[in-house]
Amino acid sequence: MSSFSVTFRSPDDEVCVLDLKGELDAHTASELEAAFQKCLDDQRPRIVVHGGDLQYISSAGLGVFMAYIEEVRDQGGDIKIAALQPRVYNVFDLLGFPVLFDITSTEDEAVHRFDADGA
């Protein structure tokens, strides 16, 4: 059984940090989907996905980012992806995510980019 969890954190009133842990695949992708949907429902579209403990991602997981990014940006926010392990970053890179998504080395960098770009 795939082990995956999403935990919500709010370092400030503006940004919602999602800590991903475990393996994000076709079975667990719906949990990330629910987390993004909750951010939208709560009208908190400034989202940082912290991937430091994300061990694995398949196209089903990447698909959730693709399905939500436009709606999040429409609400004036963004999904910034931080602290990915190299093996997980490689998968994002294979599909060209670094061109389309803001991917940073650290959570702090991602949070500060919201201040910098006003998104």
């Binding site: 398949s58 693709m66 939500y68």
Partner: protein, 148 residues
Amino acid sequence: MPAPTPTVTIPSATRYLARVRRFVDKQATAAGLSERAVDEVRLAVDEACANAIEHAYGGRENGTVEVTTEQAPGLFTVIIRHTGVPFDPGAYHPPDINRAIHERRKGGFGVALMHRLVDTVEYRHHGTTSEVCLVKRLNGNDGESASA
């Protein structure tokens, strides 16, 4: 005597994908693939199995997906077999990621990923059984322990 062909068989449900990944991880590592090559084969097999479960069986959980690994000099092969609806590679068009984002689509990238992760992707049919054959070439530092 022919080498044994390790096999794992799972029900057609996504909750069993992790079991396939562990199996491929173990076999590919034992075959001497580099860490990166193991990651790539494991992901390609995961995509093929997820496609079989979600598309070939259409979410029906009473089917099975069989995953077999084979080794030959310089090659690591994984064959994924199912008896669901065969995939027609001729009808597949790799999706454009910008368009997918615009259309808020979350699927369709598994096949494109598979082709980037392994050297050969081949589709075969034997009666009611469909096979996806994924071949990864061992190169560079890969295969050192296999030849030891």
